[in-house]
Each structure stands twice: as C-alpha cells, then as structure tokens.
C-alpha cells in the first residue's frame, strides 16, 4: 500500500477543464486597447501638470503670490462717469476664493511737483500713489513717515527709471543706476489752496512690480487731507494678490466684471485655458478607450466561461468553491494587467523625457520624469482593473 501525497489545489489543477485558449484575438485587442488607454490617460494627466508648471507667472513673486494691477475698463459708454473702485468693489474682490487680498492704490488729490536741484536740472509735476506695504515687492525699513517728518521716502518704479535713462542723454541729463538714484535729493512740493509745502524726498528702493511713484500710505493719507481736503477717495487702481495670475476662474471673473488687467501678467491665461481643455478632452477620450477595452475583455471572459460551462458546473457540483474559483481565475490575469500598466508607465515616462529634452532642450522648467500623481494614478488603475475583473468572474460563476 503506498501513501499518496495530499493533493494541492491550484489553478493548474482546473486549467485543463477550462476553455481558456481560443479567441486570442479579442483578448490581445483588449490588452492593447487597455495599454493605449492607460498610456493616454497618464500622458494627459502629466501634460496637465506640465501646462500648469510651464505657464505659471515667472515674474518675481512675493511669498508665492502673484500681484496684478486691476483697473476698470474705460469705454465710450462709461468714460464720462466715475470708473474708480468703491469700497464695495474692493470687498467683492477680496471675497473671491481665488483672490487672497486686494488693496487700492491711493492717488494724490493735490498738485505735486518734484525737482532734483542743480545737479540734475529736472523738474516735473507728478502723481504720487500709495498702497499697503504687503503689496510692494521691496520695502526697506526706512519706508515710513510720521506727521512732522520733513523727509519723505519714495519707492520708484524700475520701468520709470528705465524710461528716464532712455531719454536722459538726449536732454543732457545724467543716466542713473538703481543704487545711485538713492543719492539724489528730491524737492517734493505739495500745493494747497493756502500755499506750497516742500519736503525732502529720497528714493529708498526701486520696484519691479508697481509702475508708480510710491510714498508711504501714512504720508499720502495725511497730505490728501491736508492739501487736497480729501478724507477718503476711491481708487482708480487696485492691486490684487492671488496664488496664480493665470487662474482661469480669476480671469473669467475679471472679464465678467469688465476689469482691465496688465496683460503681461496674464498673457498665458487664455493659452493655458485652451491647452488644459484640449488635454482634458484627451483624458476623457483615454477613459473611453479604457472602458471599451475592459468591455472587450469582459466579452472574452463571458465567452470563456460559457464554453467551459458544463465543466465548471460539474466542478462546482463536486465541491469546488465558487469563491476560490473566482479568486483563482481572476489571479491568472494579474500578471497581464501588471505588464500592461507598467508598459504604459514606461511609454509615458519616455514621452515626458523626450518632451523635456527635445521641446525644452533639457531646461529645468520641467522635470524629466513623471509626477508622483501619475504613478499614483497608474496604481489606482491597476487595482481597479483587478477588482473589476474579479467581480465580473465572481458574478459569472455564481450565475452557473
């Protein structure tokens, strides 16, 4: 009498009884469809991320925010009326979820004149503006003023300095650098109905962000009251602080309100919008391809189980567990799904690498490799495929 080795149950045991072979064409088409669909979806997600990365505002940002100047659009219809921002307008801006803060640029309500003495024979009437310090890109500690102070610090626009340096030689005026402009003594004359008061102005910083001649808010509010007899004056310009100047919701809101923004900050906005729409459409198409591939594979499974129906029923009658069957048969396709997802990931990685090196000449504006969210998406798709496959097989087997 010989002692038999106890039987070990595995897929190999039942494989001869299942009609798995045949209809390989539909199986491979479904694999190919799934691979292409997954690759398209991964690529569209990566391209969405690339677009956001490439079309972010490159101008100097303060603490991760963008600052854009907003005015009300003046048209033929409204040019006779007051197109300044009321408090309600400013509060409405602040209330938007895509706007962190908004601050008005207060302008002088009196005549102001600046001259630079004998060294630079230059004098002009000028406008003065002030805004919350948080909105200015460079604010030195000296940029403050108290009533009684004869010195008024000024932050000068870098664009204005550039303009001056362009016309200065033609006017026999010396060109000035950013560091030397601070040494100039500026006579700042403030005109009021009762007379002229002169302050000593010094340029303490040059701003890349704000195209204006800025004085401390405390000075301008005091001077408007003193010389312009104005307590509160609506602002013609408002600065808006936002996370992304190219945010499509922001642009849509500003457009809807008929507000004008400085174009160089938002020039990529519409382009980004269009590209994101195209990429989203591609992503939607990819999902459709994946669904079709899964449907084709389910037809293959249904056909396989239908062909093996008699044998499957007998195996279940003999005592094979439907639950074990479902898990064992479903597991057979895990390697195929794994290979498909991995192949799609490799293809998407190669495309990203090629895009970065060929289109961007290897510049580090974009990483060469896929974003982590793309890998996460691939993992989620893999799990979904396995889960859907298992549920379908279980449903078909329990129907027998």
């Amino acid at each position: 009498m010989s002692v038999q080795t106890p039987g070990k149950i595995s897929f190999k045991t039942i494989a001869p009884f299942l009609n798995i072979g045949g209809n390989n064409t539909s199986r491979f088409f479904s694999y190919a469809g799934l691979g292409i669909g997954v690759m398209l979806l991964l690529c569209s997600v990566q391209m969405y991320i690339n677009i956001n990365q490439l079309l972010k505002d490159k101008n100097p940002r303060k603490n991760g925010y963008d600052f854009i100047s907003v005015t009300k659009t003046v048209t033929n219809q409204n040019m006779g009326s007051d197109n300044r921002f009321t408090l309600a307008d400013i509060n409405e801006l602040k209330a938007q979820p895509f706007i962190e803060d908004a601050a008005p640029l207060n302008a002088n309500q009196f005549r102001a004149k600046a001259s630079a003495g004998n060294i630079i024979p230059f004098s002009t009437d000028l406008f003065l503006e002030s805004v919350k310090n948080d909105f200015i890109d460079t604010v030195p500690a000296s940029f403050s003023w108290k009533p009684g102070q004869a010195d008024v610090p000024i932050i000068f626009s870098a664009d204005f300095l550039e303009m001056y340096n362009v016309f200065a030689p033609a006017q026999d005026l010396p060109q000035l650098s950013e560091s030397s402009i601070g040494a100039i003594n500026i006579m700042l004359e403030c005109y009021s109905p009762t007379g002229i008061q002169t302050f000593r102005g010094h340029i303490v910083a040059v701003s890349d962000r704000i195209n204006s001649v800025l004085v401390p808010e405390s000075f301008l509010l005091w001077a408007n009251k003193m010389y312009g007899n104005a307590d509160y004056v609506p602002a013609a310009r408002v600065y808006v602080k936002t996370v992304d100047a190219n945010n499509t919701s922001l642009l849509n809101f500003l457009q809807q309100k008929n507000y004008h923004v400085n174009k160089d900050k938002t020039k990529f906005g519409r382009v980004k919008q269009v590209l994101q729409t195209v990429v989203s459409g591609l992503g939607g198409f990819a999902i459709l391809v994946i669904l079709l591939a899964m449907m084709l594979f389910s037809f293959y499974l249904q056909l396989m189980i239908a062909r093996s129906k008699d044998n499957l029923q007998l195996l279940l009658t003999l005592g094979y567990s439907p639950s074990w069957f479902s898990k064992t048969v479903a597991k057979k396709w895990i390697p195929a799904y794994t290979m498909i997802i991995l192949a799609a990931l490799v293809a998407a990685s190669l495309l990203q690498f090629a895009f970065q090196h060929v289109s961007l000449n290897g510049k580090d504006e974009l990483p060469s490799f896929l974003h982590s969210s793309v890998f996460l998406l691939a993992g989620v798709l893999w799990l979904l495929c396995i889960a859907v496959n298992y549920r379908l097989i279980k449903k078909l087997l329990y129907r027998l």
Partner: protein
C-alpha cells in the same frame, strides 16, 4: 454527523406515492457510521432524494437537516464546503468529464482536499479492473467502466456519508462484490455512513437499515 429528514415531500410527487412511502413525509435520522439501503421503484423519487441530500435540488417541502442545520438556506459556498469534506456521492448518471482521461477525472476530486489517501488510485483501479484505462479518455470507456471510475472518484476525499444512487447498475455480480468491498473498507476507515438507493436489494451491501421509498 447526522442527517435528518423532517416530513420531506417532493413538490412533484403524487400523493399516493407519498402516502405509500416510509421516508416521504416521515421524520428520519441517519447517523454517521450507519449503513442504510433505500429500496425504491422507478419514479418514486430515489434520485431526487439523493439530490436533495446533496443540495443539488430544493424543490421539496419539509426540512433536511445536517448536524441540525437546515440546508434549505445554504449558499453555494456552504455546499462546496460540505461536499469537499463530509459528503461524497456516486451519481446515477455518473457525471464524469468525458474529454479528460480516467486519471484526470479521479485526480480532480483528489486535488480538492489535502486528504492523505492510504490506498492509491492505481491500487483501486487495479482492484476494480480498470488499471489499464487510467490513460484513456473517459468517453471511450464502457458504462460499467465509467461506473467504476465514478466509484473510485467518490473515495478520493474524506467523508462522513457516502451517497450512492444505483452505483452498480452496469456491473456484474463479481464486480459488484469487489466494488462494494472497496467501498466498505474506505467507509470503515473513515467511520462513515453509507446511504445506498437502488431499485432492488443489493445483497453485497451489509445494510443495517432497510427503508422503502
């Protein structure tokens, strides 16, 4: 293990046959280790009874309890468990895989449960005279050979009860005796019960209880 029938009446059976029966509409208990022969003329529901006990059909009134649990509400998983561990069967219609070899037909049952079988398939096949058929497709064997395959297959698992539905219809007296001896040995090793349903008394079966259906 105990099998109980509490006033079981098949939905399809005529009232007269139910009234005549000593099993239908009666309360019966069969315990592990017992030898029960059920003698049933054709059309009395013999195969139906075996199928009811095995959980293949549920078209009856009354209750069938296995270890005091009503099998009527059991799902496919529960029946799979009991069929692989506690209940073995020889079908009247055999139910082999015709396009697979004799050995494959037997091994597919053996693989189901890690059961240490002292007597090998080859030994059993030798005793029943089909050792030379192990490599042949089941459909090429005669009906009597197929019955012997079904018998060997039913002995490839642990069981508390072996259900047999006309298992020897195509065996001569000699082979019947050999087969019954093999079945008796395997059942005794397992301390299992045997329920044999047939048209007439099987003299080779040493039944402790005789019932008429």
């Amino acid at each position: 293990m105990t099998i109980q029938l509490n006033k079981v009446i098949p939905d399809f059976l005529e009232k007269e046959k139910v009234d005549r029966s000593k099993i239908w509409n009666h309360s019966i208990a069969i315990h592990k280790g017992e030898r029960v022969q059920i003698i049933a003329p054709s059309g009395s529901g013999k195969t139906s009874l075996v199928h009811f006990l095995y959980g293949l059909r549920h078209d009856y009134k009354g209750q069938i309890l296995i270890n005091e649990k009503n099998i009527h509400g059991w799902n496919a998983e529960a029946f799979a468990g009991i069929r692989s561990n506690s209940l073995s069967i020889i079908f009247q219609d055999l139910r082999l895989f015709p396009d697979h070899t004799v050995l494959e037909n037997i091994q597919v049952k053996k693989s189901l449960h890690p059961f240490d079988q002292a007597t090998s398939i080859e030994e059993m096949a030798g005793r029943l005279g089909i050792a030379n058929k192990l490599g042949k497709l089941a459909r090429t064997c005669s009906y009597g050979e197929q019955q012997r395959i079904a018998i060997i297959r039913s002995l490839q698992q642990p069981f508390d009860f072996l259900l047999m539905d006309e298992p020897f219809s195509h065996l001569d007296e000699n082979n019947r005796g050999i087969a019954m001896q093999l079945i008796e040995e395997e059942a005794t090793k397992r301390k299992a019960g045997i329920i044999l349903a047939d048209l007439k008394r099987i003299t080779q079966f040493n039944a402790g209880k005789l019932m008429e259906l």
